[in-house]
Amino acid sequence: MMRGTIIGQVWATRQAAGLTGRKLVLVAERDADRAPTGRLVVAIDTLDARGGDDVTVAFGSGARNVIKPGPDNRELLCDAAVAALVEGAE
């Protein structure tokens, strides 16, 4: 999983089957020292994250499990999803 900050939102009306209406957010990755790495990803957000929120993003099949857990989620066209809103870290 990746750690990052929500910096924006992406609207896409025409989307692949199964993802219609899902919220897409722009996430800027941060390293262990909380410094931005310059890498940006678009992730599907089911947790209603807001701009500035500290989040973790799951990739690959882990992302599909965020959206729809279970063995029948393989058709979901999703490789990144917000998995958690981080409140604190040490």
Binding site: T5, I6, I7, G8, Q9, V10, W11, A12, T13, R14, Q15, A16, A17, G18, L19, L24, L26, A28, R30, R34, A35, P36, T37, G38, R39, L40, V41, V42, A43, I44, R50, G51, G52, D53, D54, F59, G60, S61, A63, R64, R74, E75, L76, L77, C78, D79, A80
Partner: protein
């Protein structure tokens, strides 16, 4: 998932049978991602009827392959229902959707834990490129 722009189409008559009727698009990823995407182009299958000039979000890797043959689009179809959705298709990138608008949270993007130097400007430029639909 990454942001990118459709810059062309690919036609191929002789191709893997499992690609069937898949439409192939050339995508220029927005150059603010990982260095490996910064200058190159990638080819993605398209089920949402994106056209040249469209801004799109592109799904990479295994989920892109799995989604094919699941129905709901013009996908290859040939392998659907055989061993699960699209798991044997030779594909690792698929257009997930056509972007209408990108909204940047200025405060979050400019803060010390936000997007980092240069990225905010790159995003602003990119936003300027997004044609109203």
């Amino acid at each position: 998932v990454i942001l990118g722009r459709v810059v062309g189409e690919v036609w191929a008559t002789r191709k893997d049978a499992r690609l069937g009727r898949c439409k192939l698009l050339i995508i220029r990823p927005q150059g603010i991602y990982e260095p490996r995407w910064a200058t190159g182009h990638l080819v993605a299958v398209d089920d949402v009827h994106a056209g040249v000039g469209d801004q799109v979000v592109v799904c990479l890797g295994e989920p892109a392959r799995r989604s094919l043959g699941a129905g709901g689009g013009p996908g290859p179809g040939a392998g659907a229902g055989r061993g699960g959705a699209g798991q044997d298709f030779p594909v690792d990138a698929a257009v997930l959707g056509i972007v209408d608008r990108v909204a940047i949270d200025d405060g979050a993007a400019r803060s010390s834990t936000g997007a980092g130097p240069g990225v905010h400007r790159a995003l602003a430029l990119w936003q300027g490129e997004v044609a109203p639909r």
